[in-house]
Symmetry: D2
Subunit: 341 residues, 4 copies
């Protein structure tokens, strides 16, 4: 069976495991007050070109979203997100459980556009009943999106400009950020993101770490009492250095980008092969998630030898499925997959 279900099926990059083994019996203080967290913070700040940034390490993406959004919003505010955003659909109501509405907007391949964001905010501001309504208090983006799509630098700049005009923070969910940064045609860099967003997270779980996400507040004043909020949400890891070590390794010698680049290479090889075979793409994804359209009978046949993610029914006879590569995908597995198709 060839597994292309998701990008979180393997453990960690070997260098991370090796480092964890080396320091395994060392004694470290808890809760992120250790030397590895300190080193990782320093390297991340540098990579972001943001020497003042406040960096916190959390265990997972839904957790990061719930903690950050809960920390930033006031009780009367909600968060603007794409209707397909992870927080809108696949976090079991975590944002609402924290007391806040997700204000959804139409999307394209998971992307918001600045004009729609502006329209929502302005419609709210002009509404005579707005004091009876949830105030848009934040914008949530995912980059890459849940559909593997990428914002251009220009698109991000426009959304950021709307946020700054209306003084609401811009938050970027970077669960797969590495795969976005390493994509072939993108003009979005980590520094650009740090400059345009107020807070974002750099995904580790899907990009080489055992688990872990690095939350970066480029505007550190937004991180007020964040440590305690993390604790309150049950999100504070006792052995915080486990997260520090992983990000220290990932942000040494460009590892994060280089392993993400490998996933992109594998995805491009896969795309080329699929195109050659006349496979129908759902849309042109530039990152490690590829979405193809299969006839249902063909899909069932393939499912015996390849495991992939069911994405959505396109029509009665066709289904969109996802094939994901990752930092751990081997070239021979892509070859075998292409053989099977």
């Amino acid at each position: 069976m060839q597994h292309f279900d998701s990008d979180y099926m393997e453990g960690a990059h070997p260098l991370i495991l090796q480092r964890l083994a080396e320091i395994n019996l060392d004694k470290n203080p808890g809760y992120g007050g250790d030397v590895y967290c300190a080193a990782a913070r320093r390297k991340i700040r540098e990579a972001c070109g943001c020497p003042e940034a406040e960096v916190h390490f959390l265990a997972g993406g839904t957790q990061a979203n719930a903690v950050v959004i809960g920390a930033l919003l006031r009780p009367y505010e909600g968060v603007i997100a794409a209707s397909t955003g992870h927080i809108s659909v696949h976090e079991a109501g975590a944002i609402e459980a924290g007391g806040h509405k997700v204000l959804t907007l139409p999307q394209k391949h998971g992307k918001l556009c600045a004009a729609e964001v502006r329209r929502l905010i302005e419609t709210f501001e002009r509404d005579g009943n707005r004091a009876h309504m949830v105030k848009p208090g934040m914008v949530y983006l995912s980059h890459p999106t849940e559909y593997g799509a990428l914002y251009s630098a220009q698109e991000l700049r426009e959304i950021s400009a709307v946020c700054r005009e209306y003084k609401i923070p811009l938050y970027l969910d970077g669960a797969r950020l590495g795969y976005g940064l390493a994509a072939r045609e993108t003009d979005v860099t980590l520094r650009l993101i740090a400059g345009l967003c107020d807070v974002f997270y750099i995904g580790g779980t899907k990009v080489g770490a055992l688990f872990g996400e690095a939350v970066v507040f480029s505007r550190p004043e937004l991180a007020d009492h964040f440590f305690t909020i993390v604790k309150q949400k049950g999100a504070l890891l006792a052995k915080g250095w486990l997260l520090g070590v992983q990000f220290d390794v990932l942000f040494s010698d460009g590892l994060y980008l280089s392993i993400a680049g490998h996933a992109i290479d594998m995805a491009e090889k896969l795309k080329a092969g699929l195109r050659e075979k006349g496979c129908r793409f759902y849309y042109e994804s530039p990152t490690n998630q590829q979405f193809i359209v299969l006839e249902n009978s063909r899909m069932e046949e393939l499912a015996r030898e390849i495991s992939f993610s069911f994405w959505e029914a396109l029509d009665e006879n066709h289904t969109v499925v996802r094939l994901a590569t990752s930092w751990a995908t081997r070239e021979e597995d892509v070859d075998r997959l292409l053989c099977l198709l």
Copy 2:
């Protein structure tokens, strides 16, 4: 200035004020344990044909919605509502502040349809990722809707059937229930509602009371510890008898329906007059809220002498405005309004 802004601009029906004055210096036990609440409960149960119903009195509609929905949903559940539902738009995120997502559906004049409700539930049930998603745990209707529209008995039966098939409670927001029951062509009665819904509230604030809504659990087992939940939400009135007296009067001698009928008469007179003058209706509303389309210049002109509610911009040159009658509308005011138009 003629006021047709809303149906909650006046105090209470004079019989209610009179009764409040009569018993003003009597001594009553607090928190609804008084004889007036008891009498009102008895009369409401009878009017509903539901001798087992549990009845609680609350002060307002948003409060009733937040308390009831919060009491019935489990943490992992959300409530299905029309995208224009009061809980979806105009309660400042009260449902989300209680921890629950509002799962919105398209609507027609504020109405849900059974097929859409079924589709949402079945799509959820079939989704392989449903354990990562908010479970539809309740259906919320308003009758009349925020647009003054009414469900037919058949439509309610179909929605109720879907709810019962999937074992999720059906909740009806009756902020303007009287105006729905007294409409000229409806086949929906209070007994039918009590039979098809699991919980609903009978609006007093907009239909003759100073303030107050009667929450009726036709399935009393859903009201487990409801008193304490009401207290916890800050919704327990110390002098509960104030609510009991009002509903006791409203449910004596058919007062509730008869005063609602007056509002409908006034609305019908208004409709007829408007139609005669060639006025354009947004749609044919059968209840006390009438929605008409005005040219913007005409609207501004009228606004000097008539006060109404801005509803929504229809296009660049036209606006939908609402004119509302109530139990307290005087015929001469309608005449004067028609004169002005």
Copy 3:
């Protein structure tokens, strides 16, 4: 049966009912945007000597506490209160339901002391683990307390000084504020309270109103988006003018204090009579709530003719009961009560 159970057994002062009747069929805008609320706000600001104060009207005390405390605290903060405070014991967990811990302190007749408040805050500040703990973010007092006791001006000054030193707001629950202000020996005035507290409420429900409490922010910057928070908590009355009218009447011609003074007169008469009969007091209450100790057999006997509140078991053979006077207590009822004892 003589009723001395509580101070919320009757309706409203007749002047209030009369005023409500006079304007009953007038048309008022909703949600507090009416002339009565405006007038009441102006009079309250004046009575408080606080021309900048922001004043909001709510329906009840638990509601006021939950809304105010929820609005002022940040997610990582809790509220300091006496272990017997209404929010600590008798609000069904309303504060916790809003996400915040009540940090309880020992009390005397329901009163906190500044030294204890300081100790709690300083102990927190010195605790090496404080980032894992709930931060004291507010102090809650009731005046009179749940036991009818009063702070002296000096005691309030000291508590206020601690709050200001540590920059946390001081909130005073004035459910029975009138009875405190009208007590015979107090040196605490409304102006003093407005000067020392950051937010407080003036109780109407127990002091002459049908229902209603006036929340006064002497530091108006704390009331940020308070209207929307009120709406979200289901606490916004559609016919807000009902509250405005009541407080307008209560704050005209010194009515609030004069009717409270009557309750105090009745309580003093009751005290004198009880003392004469050798009755044992639980403690010397200066306000409208009197606490006496009865032998259990005597208590049962009296309960046939007088209704009072069971307060607490003192020992196996004795019980503390509460007798409450109010603005509505008639002198002949006190006489009859004393006869019966």
Copy 4:
């Protein structure tokens, strides 16, 4: 510097790291649907003598407490805990953030007693105002306690009997459960705990795992929709097998108890040595946490060479400090520590 600060200063038992390395590049399904979680569940059920138990793996103790308590309580309920309980003091208000009050009781070395639990419940049941109060809906114990103390089998039986009499679940926080089970004189076994508690967790973070706690529902019907609740709280690890592997290793060949036994041996050696040197114990702790009383000047001197946890000031001149051993403590480190003292 000799480190005896805490029992979570090292990584994982070498067998765990080795196993993680072996399977690092295998492909596993996410969210706990893997073979390692399945194996760990099977072994834990067996060790608990509870073939029907439902087992879920979470990342940390505060998270386990917040998720379990939030899942089990109804909105109107609170959880009974010792005033020193971890949930009462050191979880930054996580339980309250989830909407529930912690109902605290006095304790001895962190232990509750059945009689106090019964008294709290019965006092509530007898209180005429109980419908205005938080209902005790659950009992929380820690075993060992935060002070390293252990319940006897008889004490647990009595508390469990009270819980069953009043039909409220008993939850045991086993952050350091291994060290309790391996203590020299205890008569409490894992099977006994599974039989007496309704839900409990077996701590991994402090007993040999990198991180992770195994939540065991001995009454599986209490785990209704627990997976979704875990997701909603941001507590669902994408790579759930990381937790499964760790507990699979810990529950193979008795590893969990044997490594905990080593920590106990080290603690006993430390105790014997300290006693020999005339050291004053705060109390006789039977587990891996030892509490000793030091003169302040002596404490400062020692702090240059030994790192320990400040626990509390005993009086002006003496301080209680904690020395903790763990599965990773080396005998030579204890020797060196004793030398230094």
